[in-house]
Amino acid sequence: MAIIDIRIELKKGVADPEGANTKKTLEALGFEGIEDLKSVKVYEVTLDMTAEEARQAGEEMCRKLLVNPVIQRYSVTVR
């Protein structure tokens, strides 16, 4: 059994209105010193296979569905 985390974020230069609005709202609540805030999505996938097979499966999942490479990049880590 292996658990992988698939982390998907917007590529540098792609506007992140969700992150920008969240940052603005946190600042309105009084949080100071927020240099930057990015919205990131993480999928946790449990797979009945070895760690290396799970990592490869995660990469394939990104290529086939989870990521649009025009605007997003991803990383797969095995727990």
Partner: protein, 269 residues
């Protein structure tokens, strides 16, 4: 004369299929909403449908698959996993394929738009990102017909005509990794509609609801038979759903009607 038959493809989460069916019926076509499971060989004979038997394929608006992952991604993956080849063949045969809003996002995820090479793009060329306003945008927009003749689904819309219809999307900001994306679209006559402002000039927010590059609201493939449009023409089939119908809108028809007439009319020529 035999009626054009239209497959309005639906799955869990599409929600504009019946307006789209009615829009095609209103212009004389024989249209039905077909669940993607009905195209599967596993479907029971009474429900089974064959995509090849239709003259037009329409992918309606909504939030297919809950709009999870990315808008249109789950519908496109579902199509790829089942009838991907049939849909590719349908588009390559030159029959009209219309994607409205979420349907446009699905066509993009399928690679059927912009399809610069004439066939479905193997890798995505475009993506729909969240609106620049970071919220769902739903209001009337003005779109100008900019196509010079390649698009089969707008041949009955006069050149330069400005239409009014509602837009309703959260992820409508069209983005390409290609820095010359707009130039390539223009060179191939693939831009069909652009958002315009109240004075018919360049659209700023809110007239460009998503912040999409160059105000592009609809594009077609190079062959002109596949159209993706962000606003909803099926919602403006009569004057009574035109936003200005009580304020001097003169036509008896709604602004969206000419798009459906073009798709169906060209087929019957």
């Amino acid at each position: 004369m035999q009626k054009a038959s239209v497959c309005v493809l639906r799955m869990e989460g599409t929600n504009c299929e019946y307006e789209t069916v009615n829009a095609f019926k209103a212009v004389g076509a024989d249209a039905e909403a077909v669940h993607i499971k009905q195209l599967s060989e596993d479907a029971s004979p009474e429900f089974r449908r064959d995509l090849e038997g239709y003259d037009i394929l329409a992918i309606p608006g909504g939030a297919a698959g809950g709009d999870y992952v990315r808008a249109g991604a789950l519908f496109a993956a579902r199509i790829r996993a089942t009838v991907g080849k049939e849909v590719d063949d349908f588009a390559e045969s030159g029959k009209p394929v219309l994607g409205i809003c979420n349907g446009f996002q699905t066509l993009a995820e399928l690679g059927l738009l912009p399809a610069f090479g004439g066939k479905a793009d193997a890798e995505p060329v475009i993506a729909f990102a969240a609106n620049a306003s970071a919220r769902f945008e739903c209001r009337t927009v003005r779109i100008r017909h900019e196509n010079k003749g390649s698009c089969r689904c707008t041949s009955r819309v006069p050149a330069g005509a400005v239409l009014e219809m509602p837009v309703a999307c959260g992820e409508g900001r069209l983005i390409s990794a290609d820095p010359d994306f707009i130039g390539r679209l223009e060179d191939n006559d693939q831009i069909v509609f652009r958002y315009v402002g109240p004075d018919d000039g360049e659209a700023e927010y809110p007239w460009n609801p998503s912040g999409t590059q160059s105000g592009v609201a609809a594009i077609c493939n190079p062959a002109g038979n596949v159209l993706g449009i962000m606003p909803h023409p099926e919602r403006v089939m009569t004057r009574f759903t035109h936003p200005a119908w009580t304020r001097g809108y003169a036509s008896e028809q709604g602004d969206g009607r000419a798009i459906f007439e073009s798709a169906v009319g060209n087929l019957l020529k």
